[in-house]
């Protein structure tokens, strides 16, 4: 046995299990020219998820790119911490959110929906989508800008799983109009 091999096995026997395992993996990886791994990486497909807490869920409907840019700026200025804001919009100007830290949730606009799914109701689609978003986020306040679709209102006045009267609207929805 060559000296490097002797040193290798000496280390493998004496190192704590975790370190020995790491050393073995590294040596096998290096010796194979990066082609082999001693221990295949663990493949995980499950996600432990706790809904992010948002200070503000901002909804902007049928607004121009310029208006959306202004809304995002105002909201971020008001809230301070961008990671506690999510903006829901049917605008495809998603680049506005890049590197802002603010989350964006796109809802396909009415025109797209009606041209691709003419037999299906857009308002119900919006309601389902907004309901789903309320399951993703824990929302303190909601503010809306632009032409609010009925589906959004339906969602705000009550989730499908609970009666509408159980929801305190004064706490959930704050309506605002665009400038």
């Amino acid at each position: 046995m060559t000296l490097p091999r002797r040193v290798y096995w000496w280390l493998i026997r004496r190192l704590p299990p975790g370190q020995a395992r790491a050393l073995r993996a590294a040596v096998i990886y290096a010796a194979s020219g990066g082609r082999r791994r001693a221990f295949p990486p663990k493949v995980t497909t499950s996600v432990n998820f706790t809904p992010p807490k948002l200070k503000l869920l901002c909804m902007a409907w049928e607004v121009s790119e310029e208006e959306l840019a202004g809304i995002v700026q105002r909201v971020l200025d008001a809230v301070g911490d961008p990671t506690r804001v999510a903006c829901v919009s049917d605008s495809d100007a998603v680049h506005l959110f890049r590197k802002t830290g603010c989350r964006v949730e796109y809802v396909p606009p009415r025109t797209d929906w009606e041209s691709h799914f003419p037999e299906r109701d857009y308002e119900s689609f919006v309601r389902h989508r907004i309901d789903a978003l309320f399951r993703i986020y824990e929302v303190e306040r909601t503010v809306t800008f632009g032409a609010v679709p009925d589906g959004l209102l339906w969602s705000l006045v009550g989730k499908p799983s609970e009666p509408a009267e159980a929801v305190d609207l004064s706490d959930r929805a704050v309506a605002a109009s665009p400038q």
Partner: protein, 366 residues
């Protein structure tokens, strides 16, 4: 009418989303494609007439991987419930945990992974572990496959190989005179298309070097491609003619050669349409082996590879492109080695899978 859902990775590029649209636009009328993209190319997808959903790539500074995957899982689940696609096609090199979690839930749908090859040697071991989650892996063809030393070369189980996937067919390209008119180029000159996306977000010194050198050529008429994505657009020097159209390949016939990166799409488009390329490979990509691809193009005689980015080597390469005979030989060689468009075959496969009577063997992901 059945539906298929394309999920494309990519924060701000066009590669994955273009490949998906290339396949989607060739689906038969009774299969409706929906594009769920992580790319800021959302407006382009809509403009091309597809129904699109968008979910942003992870902002590493703002959100943990766990949270992002959790949100993605819920959004994909909502899309599956809303559109009930028969087939889900993922185009990307790394299937996201959140996406897989949503796809694992019943009802079981047919899952395809569009996974291009040409990975850097030894890289992507983790990525390959995800193959068993998919029923089929569709591998878009690679012109430089002889130089491919990546892990996908030996991983062929469950893989369906198709020819290189391109957005446009030859017939979609404008004739030279028409393309020149559309771009405002004067006829009878040597037209050069520069696509300076090989270094992200900067107009690199190497690109500037090319421009300065070519400006000294009186016959040359140069145009710089500006990314149609706002986030990718690079501030260009003053006085440069710009083109920002999608798909750019539509106007390729206006040009005599191109200076560009060696990413999958540009590389295969140039060869397929017989446009000689001076490839400037981006060696910094995590998985895509652009250097090997560019070198292969030079060996095959369809282009040149400018890896050093030195002025001296540039001079040598440009002597090939500025010489009419040598340039014509490269174009001829590319046309001789050209290939069919694999998007058609991929679309056929997806259409077959989207019919309820087609059963495929589902492998145990364990």
């Amino acid at each position: 009418m059945s539906r298929v859902l394309f999920i494309t990775s990519n924060g701000f590029g066009l590669g994955h989303v273009t490949r998906c649209m290339a396949i989607a636009r060739r689906l038969p009328d009774d299969v409706e494609p929906i594009v769920f993209t992580l790319s800021e190319a959302l407006p382009i997808v809509r403009r091309e007439g597809f129904f699109a959903e968008y979910f942003p790539s992870r902002d590493q500074e703002a959100e943990s991987a766990n949270h992002w995957n959790g949100r993605l899982s819920r959004r994909v689940t909502a899309a599956l419930e809303e559109y009930d696609p028969a087939v889900v096609i993922f185009d990307g090199t790394y299937p996201y945990r959140g996406m897989l979690e949503a796809l694992r839930r019943p009802p079981r749908r047919k899952l395809l992974w569009v996974r291009r090859g040409m990975w850097k040697a030894g890289q992507g071991t983790v990525n390959l572990q995800f193959a068993p989650f998919f029923d089929t892996v569709v591998e878009p063809g690679e012109f430089a496959s002889a130089a491919d030393s990546g892990l996908t070369v030996e991983s062929k189980e469950g893989v369906v190989a198709v020819a290189p996937i391109l957005y446009c067919d030859d017939d979609d390209l404008l004739e030279r005179a028409e393309a020149e008119r559309e771009l405002g180029l004067s006829p009878g000159r040597l037209n050069v298309l520069m696509q300076p996306g090989w270094e992200n977000e900067v107009f690199s010194p190497s690109a500037r070097l090319c421009i300065e050198r070519l400006e000294r050529e009186s016959t040359v008429q140069m145009m710089v491609a500006e990314s149609p994505l706002q986030a990718r657009s690079v501030p260009l020097p003053e006085g440069i003619s710009k083109v920002s159209t999608y798909p750019l390949s539509k106007v390729y016939r206006a040009f005599d050669f191109s200076i560009c990166g060696a990413g999958y799409n540009i590389f295969h488009e140039l060869i397929a349409y017989g446009l000689p390329g001076l490839f400037v490979p981006n060696a910094g990509t995590p998985l895509d082996d652009q250097v090997a691809r560019a070198r292969y193009a030079q060996e095959a005689g369809v282009g040149r590879s400018w890896e050093s980015k030195t002025e001296q080597e540039l001079e040598d390469h440009l002597s090939w492109f500025l010489d009419d005979d040598r340039r014509a030989a490269m174009a001829r060689r590319a046309r001789d080695l050209s290939f069919e468009n694999g998007a058609e075959a991929a679309a056929r496969l997806i259409a077959e899978l989207s019919t309820p009577e087609v059963e495929i063997v589902v492998r145990d992901p364990a």
